[in-house]
């Protein structure tokens, strides 16, 4: 298979690579780029552990080829924490509420919650449960994840205009 040149932005950083057309986005992020924070749980698009944002929308990195992200803005869990180690309000909320135990589904949960709160920062518990229903967690029973997202929402409300400007809902 002839490798294909792609250019994309990952967590704000311009990235160029030459990849096999069949290379999954999840493997590109994890193996090629060393961004191992995005986890692979099922490789058939059900568990949601590999969820990333592609142009602001959640996508299953295990169901996308890297070449499909050519030209896209990709955001992963590694982009959430500040360089100095300060956790984002969403990450802090997960820690405050014990919204993670083993931590394996967490990256996908955080990215799904990020999409939700950017677009609907006033989401109620039911809307939050609906939004995360495509992300399996085997440890927590979900309640504390919902608690965490509720706590983090106001921070997104304050930041909402900035996100609106760069979002182009499909």
């Amino acid at each position: 298979m002839t490798p294909v040149a792609i250019e994309l932005t990952i967590n704000g950083e311009a990235t160029a690579a030459t990849v096999e057309p069949r290379l999954l986005l999840s493997d590109f992020l994890r193996d090629t780029l060393g961004l191992t924070g995005t986890h692979v749980g099922c490789e058939h698009g059900v568990c949601g552990a590999c969820t990333v944002l592609v142009d602001g929308r959640t996508a299953r990195a295990c169901l996308m080829f890297a070449v499909q992200a050519d030209g896209a803005k990709v955001e992963t869990v590694e982009g959430l924490m500040a360089l100095n180690g300060d956790l984002s309000p969403l990450q802090e909320a997960f820690r405050d509420h014990h919204g993670l135990q083993c931590g394996f589904c967490t990256a996908g949960m955080l990215m799904t919650a990020t999409e939700l709160l950017r677009t609907a920062p006033t989401a109620d518990r039911a809307a939050i449960r609906e939004a995360i229903s495509g992300n399996l967690c085997r440890c927590t029973g979900y309640e504390t994840i919902v608690d965490a997202i509720v706590q983090a929402a106001p921070a997104f409300l304050e930041a909402a205009p900035a996100f609106e400007a760069r979002e182009t809902p499909r």
């Binding site: 058939h44 993670l100 394996f104 029973g141 504390t144």
Partner: protein, 803 residues
């Protein structure tokens, strides 16, 4: 909410977890994150047949594919790697890659190592295997009588891997004189832990040093490592096991053999580090992690006053194709077979059969959850048959708070408890009249609402005798199940704690911090927790059987005791006087009678590290400030030779009362859990928020077992549920917010009175939900005797109950 605070500084605080920052930042250290120079990737070829002879394998085309480094058949692999570890005796022989015969769909028949997983999988498609199909054995009861080609292990002459029959107490007399005997048959479904991270290993073999370095998400490295070394034909010191973050286990990864063994064997053949991580289908079809799959014929005897007088359980358990855990999950169920009730006589007959499915491993409850379900269902049936209130019947038969320590008929001890108080607290949390009103309203809208309750015990702090005491001739009658810790005080006074079991979703770093802080009087922020490899390591049984916090507390108590002695000795020399006159608090060692006079931990740490000549020329003042401690099981005894007494093996016993409220659509028979109350007594609680997390997570898994999850095999032994789209793990829609509350009856035997609580949610949820479904259809006398209660299953049960 916990009860009145005691005189603890850190025990009982909901400290935030030190584990979380790296996990939230995407910087966890999971096994699939490991990438070594020249690392190659393995993939295994899975059998499409449930049961077949392997006639021939042609790997030539696969081996010729560019990028392929190694291709091996099972026979070729077995030339360098021996059989998998097993606790069964005589051993039910299993190879990580099958030789001659496959015994379940998904069993590996060949493996490829290539420069990428993509190429390795391409190569699998080029391997040609010729099979001669054999009869598939799927039904556990039919397996018992099977002969000829339907024998999975013909050399054993039978598909029955174990049968034994045990009577403790006056069983026959109790049944003969019973006013009523309640009999039911139950079918418990084949489920599995299903962690979101599958099993994996990265192994490097250094041919010059003849040593393996193993990264894996297994546990019990210090125990299982030696068994894997034996299979690889090397000494245990030729393998160093590193500890990774683990993306969930729930018991399954505690006995993980085939994955590290495949990676290690292939790494040695390839001369390169090899990564082998299961995909989800491999995990489901060949994970060696299915759980109890049982048929029960159960009977409970009652006297005229409603007192329980005997319990009889005849169990057939479908173990799948192999028997690595032996009868451990039945030993486990026996720890609390009579539940929270006074039942003086117990009969237990167990038949373990092999069938053409992947084999069993522990799953949160390890068979105890099945026993709890059966007993609670029998109690509900007894209440119905005798016209008694199910709550009153339970209360009447509870072991009283003054009867502890309480010996159950088979010899195990329950340390303490106050079951009535737990029940009262749970009932107080439920607004009964409101739910009754909603029930009426729902009925008019085509919905049924039901409320169900269960009162169960949670045995904790596993001892290993349960793994073999049902055998006449155990392979390895081990009696040690210790836990270890190493603690060092640095020159700056900070404490470095090394653990020897992985973080797999429990919170070992948080526990270590809170416990060391409590014992030494040091701020948790000044405690760093890490993990030791087996090279550095001490023996550790790890987090199985709801034991880790209790065992870790014992180990930390021992190590900090030694540290305190030395710190007082050093300080006493500096301050003058008797070490016994000193106390430790707030990172200082000071005179009890004159607290202003003292030394900080930093001053003592510096002295111990750098100022030897300031102290007497005496061995007791030698440099260094560290201690290691290996703590043995706090209360365990050997079984008697004839097994009329199993000994004490699971004495730290918590209790829980769960109340589930379900709503069922009359048209679709879809059941939803809409409200849930869980009250637990796990003794003294170290970190309330984390305990609540364990309870909620266990209940979520219990909801899965009760309503959604099951491995379906068809009559040919084909797995029909090989993806997470078919094997339905509860999502955020299926798990409600849960009211969690506690009673704290401290254990008299453990440090601080802590009891284990890692499994409790899943030990109690299933019977509560089943009872709630019964209640929703009380007018039809519905009785749930099989899980999961899917819509079609419920439709069938209703039809049967109406008839």
């Amino acid at each position: 909410m916990t009860e009145a605070p005691r005189n603890f500084r850190w025990i009982g605080q909901s400290l935030k977890r030190p584990e979380d920052a790296r996990l939230l930042a995407g910087r966890g250290r999971f096994v699939d994150d490991v990438k070594l120079p020249r690392m190659a990737h393995a993939a295994v070829l899975a059998s499409p047949h449930a049961h077949a002879r392997i006639l021939s394998i042609d790997t030539s085309r696969a081996a010729a594919l560019p990028g392929v480094l190694v291709v091996v058949t099972g026979a070729e692999f077995a030339a360098t790697v021996g059989a998998m570890p097993t606790l069964s005796n005589p051993p039910v022989v299993q190879h990580a890659i099958a030789i001659d015969r496959v015994r379940h769909v998904g069993e590996p028949v060949a493996a490829v190592v290539a420069t990428s997983r993509y190429i390795a999988e391409d190569a699998l498609a080029l391997i040609e295997v010729e099979y001669e199909p054999l009869p598939a054995v799927v039904d556990p009861e039919a397996a018992i009588e099977a002969t000829g080609d339907a024998l999975l292990h013909p050399e054993r002459g039978s598909n029955v891997a174990h049968h034994s029959d045990h009577t403790w107490g006056p069983v026959d007399a109790a049944f003969a004189s019973a006013e009523r005997v309640v009999r039911r048959r139950f079918r418990w479904p084949r489920v599995s832990p299903q962690p979101i991270e599958t099993s994996g290993a990265v192994v490097d073999y250094d041919a010059a040093e003849r040593r393996f370095t193993v990264h894996s998400n297994m546990s019990q490295q210090s125990v299982i490592g030696a068994r894997l070394a034996r299979a690889l034909g090397v000494e245990p010191h030729q393998m160093n096991f590193l500890i990774s973050d683990v993306g969930g286990s729930f018991g399954g990864k505690s006995s993980l053999y085939h994955v590290p063994l495949i990676a290690a064997g292939l790494a040695r053949l390839a001369g390169r580090p090899v990564k082998y991580v299961e995909d989800r289908l491999e995990h489901m079809a060949n994970g060696n992690q299915h759980a109890s799959d049982r048929v029960y014929d159960a009977a409970l005897a009652l006297d005229a006053d409603g007192r329980f007088t005997a319990l009889s359980l005849k169990v057939i358990d479908d173990y799948g194709a192999y028997f690595m855990m032996n009868t451990g999950s039945h030993g486990n169920a026996l720890a609390q077979a009579t539940g929270p009730y006074r039942i003086p006589a117990l009969h237990y007959e167990v038949t373990c059969v092999v069938t053409n499915k992947t084999q069993q491993a522990p799953y949160r409850g390890f068979g105890g959850e099945v026993g709890n379900f059966v007993l609670e269902r029998l109690v509900d049936a007894a209440a119905r048959e005798t016209g008694r209130d199910p709550v009153a019947l339970r209360r009447q038969n509870f072991i009283g708070r003054d009867e502890f320590p309480y010996r159950i008929p088979n010899g195990n001890i329950y340390d303490s408890g106050d079951y009535a108080r737990v029940l009262d607290r749970a009932l107080a949390q439920l607004d009964g009249p409101a739910w009754r009103a909603r029930k009426e309203a729902a009925r008019k809208a085509g919905k049924r609402i039901g409320v169900g309750l269960a009162t169960v015990n949670e045995r904790s702090v596993l001892s290993v005798t349960e793994l073999w005491f049902l055998d006449k001739d155990p392979a390895f009658p081990q009696s040690s199940s210790p836990e270890s810790v190493h603690i060092r005080i640095n020159p700056d006074g900070a404490a470095l704690v090394t653990l020897f079991a992985p973080h797999w979703g429990n919170s070992p770093e948080t526990m270590a911090k809170q416990l060391v802080a409590e014992y030494l009087g040091i701020d948790p922020a000044r405690i760093v927790v890490g993990y030791g490899s087996t090279d550095q390591g001490l023996i550790s049984k790890g987090p199985v059987g709801s034991r880790y916090t209790v065992m870790l507390a014992g180990a930390i108590a021992g190590a900090t005791r030694e540290l305190a002695v030395k710190m007082k000795r050093l300080a006493a020399h500096r301050l003058g006087g008797d070490p016994e006159a000193l106390e430790l608090r707030d990172e200082r060692v000071f005179l009890r009678d004159d607290p202003a006079r003292g030394l900080s931990f930093a001053e003592i740490g510096r002295a111990a590290h750098s100022f030897r000549l300031s102290f007497p020329n005496d061995e007791a003042f030698r440099s260094g400030l560290s201690a290691q401690y290996t703590y043995d099981h706090l209360y365990t005894t050997m079984p008697s030779a004839d097994r009329s007494d199993l000994g004490v093996f699971y004495p730290i016993v918590g209790h829980a009362c769960h109340i589930a409220v379900v709503e069922i659509d009359e048209a679709t028979h879809q059941t939803r859990v809409i409200h849930y109350v869980a009250v637990h007594d796990a003794g003294t609680i170290v970190n309330p928020r984390l305990v609540d997390g364990q309870i909620r997570g266990g209940i979520a898994q219990g909801i899965g077992t009760a309503l959604y999850e099951k491995y379906h095999y068809d009559e040919d032994g084909q797995l029909l549920t090989g993806s997470l789209a078919d094997y339905a793990v509860p999502t955020s829609h299926e798990v409600p917010d849960i009211v969690v509350d506690h009673v704290e009856t401290p254990s008299p035997f453990t440090e601080f009175g802590i009891k284990g609580c890692g499994e409790g949610g899943r030990l109690a949820a299933m019977p509560a939900i089943a009872a709630a479904i019964d209640d929703a259809f009380a007018d039809e006398e519905l009785f749930v005797d099989e899980l999961p209660v899917t819509p079609s299953a419920l439709h069938g049960m209703r039809a049967a109950s109406v008839r």
